[in-house]
């Protein structure tokens, strides 16, 4: 039974997803796909949260599982994170597809199995599982981006995303191959043992490390590997954009933290003055700069989210880099940040969906003008989401930033400087996040400009928005439980 519980979140998505596929083949009329998909994510979320509170005894799980997939609390936390992102985006996606006549049942299965891939990716204990999870997740998202075949922009985005994503996959795979060549095994634990015993080919090992991290950096859209993101985010349908930021990015970060924790934490590669922290810190600084500066000029909110995602990748990388100093606390800070980021971006996306109606999607900052006055109930969650992305108290984003930046500042030296830079660049980010809020509340549509007409009320969209708002505010005013869970997960992850 331990085996079953160890993989319950994954099983529930796989089993119910397949069942849904069968039902779909025989269904005569439209079912509430978004509710069904959301429920499956909900089941997975509950399974993961349950496992967090009542952890599975890893020693009782067959080695055939633990060899490839981790079963510690960190694993369940990443399951919960992905299921949560999937839940909100799936709930918001249904109303969007219906409203804009883009209904395609495949989309829901792609969401489900892509998220499943993300869970495998984030749980990988083996280089092969890592790659399989990555591809499982990515292929689904490539298809999701391309789903709107009639839109040239969508197809362009999908092709670019596919090409550059494959490039990333290839780099990661190459790195894996080098690590395998260096250590003689694909198991992360095995590689670590070889490393500790100095039983690796050093030159191959550092090359493999660098390429593995490079591949992951492409997936998290850290600068300078971010160039696919703006086009892919903009070309995708709004809910897919949300999925990319709430699920794909968070899964990739969870995987990065795991790889780092298993392979490198505690080795000489994590020496702050000479090793990977310096490298990650450099990527963090570059990402924060590029993301925040790039977002300044964006009119399209999806594109803005892409750059903002690059900036957030920078903040997160800073937290990841600081893991050397206080592994447990800083890994927990990164987990916490991932939750606030997933909730915040899913909320923003759900709100953005609510602003548009058939034939009139609201995607530009200017489209939002006057919504605060005309539709206060819709505008408010968007403002909450923006404040959370900005990291303004009392939203979850504030606590995420606080924990990560504090961890970096306490790591000292160059990382304290980077934390300072991160704070300053967060100030810069206020410009583009607040511009959206200003447009909502202090602008009116210009003469001749079409007003955004929100779609009619929809239960599942309201649920998605309500859930997101609640979560973002709750994480901001009562962070203690999740902080506690995150540090438990970090402890589990670090063994």
């Amino acid at each position: 039974m331990n085996d079953f519980f160890a993989l319950l979140p994954l099983f529930s998505i796989a089993a119910f997803g397949l069942l849904l596929l069968v039902v779909e083949a025989f269904a005569k009329e439209r079912l509430d796909w978004e509710i069904l998909t959301g429920s499956i994510f909900g089941v997975a979320l509950f399974a993961a949260i349950g496992a967090l509170f009542a952890p599975v005894d890893a020693s009782g799980v067959s080695e055939s599982i633990t060899r490839y997939l981790s079963v510690d609390r960190g694993a369940f936390l990443s399951d919960a994170l992905i299921a949560l992102g999937g839940l909100i985006t799936a709930l918001a996606a249904g109303p969007y597809f219906k409203e804009h006549g883009l209904e395609r049942v495949e989309a829901y299965f792609l969401l489900l199995f892509s998220a499943l891939g993300g869970m495998v990716f984030a749980r990988a204990e083996d280089l092969v599982t890592l790659f399989i999870g990555l591809e499982m997740m990515s292929l689904g998202v490539y298809a999701l981006v391309a789903l709107r075949r009639t839109s040239a922009r969508a197809v362009e985005g999908a092709v670019k995303y596919f090409l550059l994503g494959s490039f990333g996959g290839a780099i990661l795979l190459f790195g894996s191959a080098l690590l395998y060549g260096s250590a003689g095994t694909t198991s992360l634990v095995g590689i670590r043992e070889a490393l500790d015993a100095s039983d690796v080919v050093e030159s191959l090992f550092v090359l493999g490390t660098v390429m593995l991290l490079g591949g992951l950096a492409i997936k998290v859209a850290a600068a300078p590997f971010h160039t696919w993101a703006p086009d892919a985010y903009q070309g995708a349908m709004i809910p897919v954009t949300g999925f990319m930021s709430a699920v794909v990015k968070t899964a990739a970060f969870a995987a990065l933290v795991r790889v780092l924790a298993v392979l490198y934490v505690g080795t000489s590669l994590m020496e702050p003055s000479t090793g990977l922290p310096l490298l990650l810190g450099g990527l963090a600084l570059l990402s924060m700069l590029v993301g925040n500066l790039g977002a300044l000029r964006q009119e399209n909110i999806k594109r803005l989210l892409a750059y903002s995602g690059v900036a957030h990748a920078g903040y997160l990388l800073l937290g990841v880099a600081a893991i050397f100093a206080n592994p447990e606390a800083n890994a927990a800070a990164v987990y916490y940040y991932l939750f606030t980021y997933a909730a915040g971006s899913a909320l923003v996306i759900a709100s953005l969906i609510s602003f548009g109606s058939r034939g009139r999607e609201a995607v530009d900052v200017g489209d939002l003008a006057g919504l605060g006055r005309r539709h206060p109930w819709l505008a408010f969650p968007m403002a909450v989401g923006m404040f959370s992305m900005l990291g303004f108290p009392p939203t979850g984003g504030f606590f995420g930033k606080l924990l990560v930046f504090r961890g970096a500042a306490e790591a000292g030296g160059i990382f304290a400087f980077l934390a300072l830079a991160a704070i300053l660049l967060s100030v810069v980010s206020a410009f583009y996040y607040l511009r959206v809020v200003v447009s909502l509340y202090y602008r009116e549509p210009e003469e001749g400009q079409l007003e955004a007409i929100p779609m009619g009320s929809d239960a599942s969209l309201s649920l998605a928005i309500g859930l997101g708002t609640l979560l973002v505010i709750l994480l901001g005013i009562y962070p203690a439980p999740l902080v506690e869970l995150a540090s438990l997960a970090a402890r589990g992850l670090l063994g």
């Binding site: 092709v159 670019k160 090409l163 550059l164 490039f167 990333g168 780099i171 050093e202 030159s203 090992f205 550092v206 090359l207 660098v210 390429m211 991290l213 490079g214 950096a217 492409i218 300078p224 590997f225 160039t227 696919w228 703006p230 086009d231 080795t267 000489s268 590669l269 020496e271 003055s273 000479t274 090793g275 310096l278 490298l279 700069l289 590029v290 500066l293 790039g294 300044l296 000029r297 750059y307 810069v428 410009f431």
Partner: protein
């Protein structure tokens, strides 16, 4: 006493108006007017009943205390903590105030239901008025200063809200702001006083403060003759000048008449403005500890009474006359405080509350009847007695009381004040408890003179007000409206009070309780022996009758006001409040405005340019660059990714070598960090043999000690340790054969002998056996030789000649690339740290 069931009454007294305020404020828009009236009047009446029962229950010298909860705890230095309780305390002093406040407030609430019946924001009005009463009760019932301050601020807020009640009128709004800002100026002083008290006495409870006044006899500031008591009394009085409208902060009160008339009656005549007097009485032991402060208060109070009384003479609007009259009467009260006659001042607070509330409500009734908006002009009134009989008669009673005509309440209380001041003027010795009070006789004479003139003016303007309003022929064709029962009833009650309240003070059988308990609750300054005499009463009565006579002579039968003609320019000056408002505008407001404008323009043009425009420009440039990077061409993007991965390669591929030199405990070492894939080899002395890694490269971390033996022969570094440079690293100087002058900065001017400053006195150069040092300093050898590994002193600055090691470090990375670097290290050696003349930081430097 401490009877817990009775003490609950205090809480109910306070909470009842609060409940009324909440009901009217939160649900007022949904309730009918009758319900709002019932809630507003009912809650205050209930409060009055509670207060009256509680007051009746306490005996002289007793107090009823409601112990609430621990509100805050103030930590002091030294681990002390000052607990602040939410506790209410009623003794004779606060009991009198509570009963008076609730009683008058109930009458004025009742009056308001008629007066404000046509007002749209009916509920808001009563919500504010109830809130005011609540705050006022907190103020008088507070058992400690911070809680009193809550009420103090609360009444200020209510006053602000009600002065600006008709906030669409910008002038009214400005009047409200003026009142609020002036009060803030006073609040500052009260806050500072609170800080001083808590620092000195370690308590903020009134009973405890009053019991520990001896602590305040210490000097306020070292080397200053002012005691803490003087400073405190003056700071508190400063607060009172704002709240109770004394010179110099009195100009807000006349403007405060912008509010509805019942508000003027309640807040700006009967209750709030007397809270300064209450505070002084509450802390009377502190005030009587300082004769200096008392003298100041006496003179300021008397001057205020005089100036405001004269200004009132020339005003020709009903409420303006009454406003200045209030300022003047408050001046009388503070003059009484100035001679330590706290109970007399409080008695005047009580009688004044009756007759001034009566006069304000009477003028409100007149304004209501003639439909005057804002204020009633005396030139347009007259002859109203026939139409408004009840109002006229009660108003006349108020006027008589204000003028201090014998047998009215005003007569008794004013007589008490004049009597006390007369005592000081005639040189009577005073003492409060066992503490002698020394107020100079000239101050007493000056104050008495001013007060007597003020009394003449008071009687004059009081009767002028009555005659011009109710007697003679009507000067306006408006047919006055009838005044309803809800308005006349309070007038009658107050009129009765304006006569009867005075008899509370008489030593009649069964009545002396009031005066005695009030006297027992404050620390009055009393004549040391006997005192008394009837002269003060005769003078006061004569002044009142004189004023009355002049008024009758001037206004009986007059249709036009003869005053402007008689006084000419002086009248204009008085009309304009002696130009004090203009003066304040020029002296305070204009410069402040100029500073504000300067700061704003500085902020806009300099700060914004530097810290907003330039960063914005940088950010915009960066944004442009980043978006340009996003070409949208796939192969370009792919290339960028490839370049990124190559850069990551570079991180490990590009040879890197980092090392640290540490000097510790007199020896030097090289620290080579741990770095994955990097190995090191070190040759310390340049002889081609490796001290580290002789067998092959070794991985980090490594620490290699360097000894003097590794030094290069014949090469040195001169290390300078200036004594004033703290724990800093020494200054290192490379030497050559030609002479080098050491600069003052290098030598550390601070510890150089005096004559040597600025003369660049030390020259060093390398010679065969070591370093030659030449100085032209007094008390130093002219020339000396410093050998390697030795040190010498110049003044207090230490020079050390360090052997130099040239260390070759090689690092090999994971790909077999070798990086080489040569480090020149001055060896500080063990001797560098020895033979210390003065304490120095470790010669090894900071590490």
């Amino acid at each position: 006493m401490g009877d817990s069931t009775l003490s609950i009454l205090l809480l109910l007294t306070v909470l009842s108006p609060l409940a009324g305020a909440i009901v009217s404020g939160a649900f007022g828009s949904k309730l009918p007017r009758t319900a709002i009236s019932a809630v507003a009047v009912g809650s205050i009446t209930l409060s009055f009943v509670f207060a009256a029962i509680a007051y009746a229950a306490i005996g002289a010298g007793e107090a009823l205390v409601y112990e609430g909860y621990r509100w805050i705890t103030i930590p002091l230095s030294g681990g002390r903590e000052v607990p602040i309780e939410f506790a209410l305390r009623m003794d004779a002093l606060s009991g009198m105030m509570t009963v008076m406040v609730t009683g008058i407030a109930a009458l004025i609430h009742l009056f308001s239901t008629g007066y404000m019946s046509e007002e749209r924001s009916y509920a808001r009005y009563f919500a504010h008025l109830n809130f005011f009463t609540f705050s006022m009760l907190i103020l008088v019932l507070a058992s400690n200063l911070p809680l009193l301050f809550v009420g103090w601020e609360g009444v200020g807020l209510a006053s602000y809200l009600l002065i600006g009640f008709w906030h669409s009128n910008l002038a009214y709004e400005a009047a409200a702001r003026k009142a609020f800002i002036m009060n803030r100026i006073g609040d500052l002083a009260v806050l500072v006083a609170i800080f001083i008290i808590v620092q000195t006495a370690g308590t903020l409870d009134f009973t405890e403060i009053n019991a520990s006044v001896a602590l305040f006899d210490a000097a306020a500031i070292d080397g200053l003759s002012m005691t803490k008591a003087t400073l405190l009394a003056l700071l508190l009085f400063w607060g009172c000048t704002a709240k109770s409208a004394q010179i110099p902060l009195f100009t807000w009160l006349p403007d405060a008449m912008a509010g509805p008339t019942p508000v003027s009656a309640l807040i700006h005549a009967a209750t709030m403005v007397t809270s300064g007097v209450y505070l002084a009485a509450r802390m009377s032991p502190v005030f009587v500890s300082s004769s200096t402060a008392l003298t100041v208060i006496l003179l300021v109070g008397a001057l205020t009474a005089l100036v405001a009384g004269l200004v009132a003479v020339s005003q020709n609007q009903m409420k303006k006359v009454l406003a200045f009259s209030t300022v003047s009467q408050l001046g009388f009260m503070f003059a009484a405080i100035g001679v330590g006659a706290f109970s007399a001042a409080l008695f005047h607070v009580l009688t004044h509350a009756f007759f001034k509330a009566l006069l304000f409500l009477g003028s409100g009734a007149v304004m209501y009847a003639v439909g005057a908006d804002g204020d009633a002009h005396l030139d347009q009134l007259g002859g109203l007695r026939k139409k408004l009989t009840v109002t006229a008669i009660s108003f006349l009673i108020g006027v008589v009381a204000l003028a201090g005509i014998p047998l009215t309440a005003g007569f008794f209380s004013k007589d008490q004040i004049l009597h006390a001041v007369f005592g000081v003027a005639s040189g009577e010795a005073l003492a409060a408890g066992d503490r002698a009070i020394e107020i100079p006789g000239w101050a007493g004479v000056a104050a008495l003179t001013m007060l007597l003139i003020a009394a003449i003016a008071t009687a004059f303007y009081a009767f002028k007000l009555y005659l011009r309003t109710f007697e003679g022929e009507p000067r306006s064709e408006v047919e006055p409206k009838a005044v309803g029962r809800s308005m006349t009833l309070p007038l009658v009650v107050l009129a009765v009070g304006s006569i009867a309240a005075g008899y509370l003070w008489l030593p009649v059988e069964g009545m002396e309780y009031f005066a005695e308990s009030l006297r027992a609750s404050v620390l009055d300054a009393l004549p040391v022996e006997g005192g008394g005499g009837m002269l003060a009463m005769i003078l006061g009565t004569a002044a009142a009758l004189l004023g009355l006579g002049i008024a009758f002579g001037m206004y009986r039968g007059a249709t036009e006001d003869p005053l402007p003609n008689k006084l000419g320019k002086a009248n204009e000056l008085l009309m304009a409040n002696l130009g004090i408002d203009t003066l304040y505008r020029r002296v305070f407001i204009a410069p402040f405005g100029a500073i504000s404008r300067f700061v704003r323009s500085f902020d806009r043009e300099t700060v914004d340019a530097l810290f907003v425009a330039i960063p914005a420009l940088v950010a915009r440039g960066g944004a442009w660059a980043v978006t340009r990077l996003q070409s949208g061409v796939v192969h370009a993007q792919g290339t960028l990714i490839a370049v990124g991965v190559l850069l990551l390669f570079g991180f490990y591929f590009y040879p890197r070598l980092s090392y640290e030199v540490i000097h510790e405990g007199g020896s030097s070492a090289i620290l080579l960090p741990e770095s994955y894939g990097t190995r090191y080899r070190v040759d310390l002395d340049g002889d081609g043999r490796y001290e580290l890694g002789a067998e092959g490269f070794e991985s980090g971390p490594q620490r290699i000690q360097i000894a003097n033996a590794h030094a290069v022969e014949g090469e040195y570094r001169l290390l300078i340790y200036p004594a004033d440079r703290g724990a800093d690293e020494p200054i290192e100087i490379a030497l050559s054969g030609s002479p080098t002058m050491l600069t003052e900065r290098q030598l550390g001017s601070h510890y150089l002998p005096k004559g040597a400053r600025g003369s660049r006195p030390v020259v060093v150069y390398q010679s065969e056996e070591g370093v030659r040092i030449r100085t032209n300093l007094p008390d130093e050898d002219g020339e000396r030789t410093l050998l390697p590994g030795r040190q010498t002193l110049i003044g207090t600055t230490r020079l050390y000649l360090a052997p130099l090691a040239r260390v070759r470090i090689e690092a090999e990375n994971a790909f077999g690339h070798v990086t080489t670097e040569t480090a020149e290290i001055a060896l500080r050696g063990r001797s560098a740290g020895s033979r210390r003349v003065i304490p120095l930081p470790s010669a090894g430097g900071a590490r």
